[in-house]
Amino acid sequence: MDLVLAIVEALLLVTFVAGSAVFFIWLERKVAGRIQDRLGPTRVGGRFGWLQTIADGIKLLVKEDLIPADADPMLFRLGPYIAFCGAFTAYLALPFANGWVAKPLSIAIFFMLAVMSTEVFGIILAGYGSGSKWALFGGMREAAQMVSYEVPMALCVLVPVIVAGSMDLNYISNLQAGGIWNWYVFHDPFTFLAFWTYFTCATAQCKRAPFDLAEAESELVAGFHTEYSGLRWSFFFMAEYGAMFAVSGIAVLLFLGGWSTGLPFVPELSSTFATWLGSAEEPSWLGWVIGNVINVVVFIVKGWLLVFVQMWVRWTLPRLRIDQVMMTCLKYLLPISCVLLLGVSVWQLAVSPWVEPYFRYALCGVCLALFAWMAWKVWTTRSRLPVTVTGATNLWNRGPIPPELVQKS
């Protein structure tokens, strides 16, 4: 019985990781296209190119599977699977809703960090086993970068852990139920800064641009996966997109309220629904499930938003140099995260509970006001633009806009 349950859970997780990778690859191409003033995929699967990833996948499946003559065949074959296992195993401890987690662990966040740190090994082995100097350079860069960024990332994770007093992600998330001001990102100045520091480190940990030195195509052809093709290559990308959602999920659970909707006066949904449909003594099973399904949707949407931000950053910022990457980590992020860790300890010990709620409301209010102001600026700027261009053809025609296309809005 345990075995069947374990297999079902593992299959669900694999489906989720693979499915979200399919979605993310499509999203990445769309986002990249839009940011670069293109349309992205439009041909396969209707107007928005929904089936583009499937087409890519079929192409990868039928590609020739090549192992270079100079490669070490065993290490070359092992690399992608180790990388994917590292990214996938982290999902075992990631709760998707209240109590919906494959393996409830009291040290869930520590486990996730530990497992994700093994992903680097697949990349080192791939880089070394390829027998190519580009791949070796990429693997070495990746190893140096990941081992360095792990440290500030773990220190930033400790900040909300200190606030919550637990490493259980489920528990931490439930502590942030209720209004948006209960989210740990607004808890105190240190958690607020820790969120941004964590997200920077997590982007680097997933080797996403601007930190994608391991696959810097302008210098290293394609970095550690230069010699890979076909299915093995796609495993690296499954690992990358899996890790992107995993670190985003950690950020959501630790800082952004987990599955809490952020609406004021709405408590944790699953237990509320359970007592609502049933009674306090006999909570309804159906209500619990309904509440948790809403929780899952809220959590996944939040995670996807953070993944979207990672893509947005990738296609907006230029790539750093390798020495700049290491300097960012060792000279800036590491001291910042140490200060944050000390600061949050002092805050928890010294600042009285009288100050805390007011600060929380104030920070939350300031952030929301700032966000509203920015949204307003974006909206008004957009409406002052003289033209709204619709249709694909005009994107390529950069001459003066014909007057019949100019619309006042």
Binding site: D2, L3, D70, D72, M74, L75, L78, I82, L105, S106, I107, F110, F111, L113, A114, V115, S117, T118, V120, F121, I124, L125, Y128, G129, G131, L136, M140, A143, A144, V147, E150, M167
Partner: protein, 224 residues
């Protein structure tokens, strides 16, 4: 057999076979890959034993840190793409004999003394001390286990000094030790201007007798 027993045999087979492969293989990077599976198998055994925190620490520190460092070392010191260092058949024979004898002695001592666990402990995760208890022990709020006696300490130490057998002091010593190691390793491994091995590669202008000056470039031919 329960599921946990099957899992134990699988993990133990993986750990043992990969440990043997570490010894047998001649390629040092492959040895690192086998060591990776050994360490991962050991951490799996820790999870099976219910020691979640130790298992995760094993993964984070050993696999994600130490082993990456070792592979770094391999790559920094590799001259050929795949480093091989052969040893002779006679040496293999001696090693095999010594290894078998050593394992025989150890196994015989276990099986003869036949250590049994106290109580009816089964594999599973209910009875192991969790991370909270470990944290309390490291903070000094938890004494050494109630019935346990520490060798070298008087028997009534609990009555006299509550903190004497907690793990706060070792914890602090380990952290200071790590700091010392950090500084020491950085000092040892920093790029030094090195004296060259043979006179053939010395600079011809006779400046080689002067002590090395910081910031000066290394002479060519020294680096591979």
């Amino acid at each position: 057999m329960a599921l946990t027993d099957v899992l134990f045999y699988l993990l133990a087979a993986m750990t043992g076979i990969c440990a043997l492969a570490v010894v047998v293989t001649q390629n040092i990077v492959r040895a690192a890959a086998w060591l990776l599976f050994t360490l991962a198998g050991v951490s799996g055994l820790f999870f099976l034993l219910g020691a979640d925190f130790v298992g995760a620490t094993q993964l984070l520190v050993y696999v994600g840190g130490t082993l990456v460092l070792v592979v770094f070392g391999v790559m920094l010191t590799a001259q050929s793409p795949f480093v091989n260092m052969r040893i002779s058949a006679a040496e293999w024979g001696i090693a095999l004999a010594v290894g078998l004898v050593l394992y025989g002695v150890l196994a015989a001592s276990f099986l003869i003394s036949n250590p049994k666990g106290v109580g009816d402990a089964q594999l599973g995760r209910e009875e192991m001390a969790d991370s909270i208890l470990l944290g309390q022990a490291l903070l000094g709020q938890w004494q050494a286990s109630p019935q346990g006696t520490m060798s070298g300490l008087p028997a009534d130490i609990h009555l006299r000094n509550r903190l004497a057998v907690s793990y706060l002091l070792p914890f602090e010593i380990v952290s200071v030790h790590l700091l010392v190691v950090l500084i020491g390793a950085a000092y040892l491994a920093r790029a030094k201007r090195r004296r060259l091995a043979g006179p053939a590669s010395l600079p011809v202008d006779g400046t080689d007798v002067s002590p090395p000056v910081d910031g000066q470039e290394q002479p060519l031919g020294a680096q591979t």
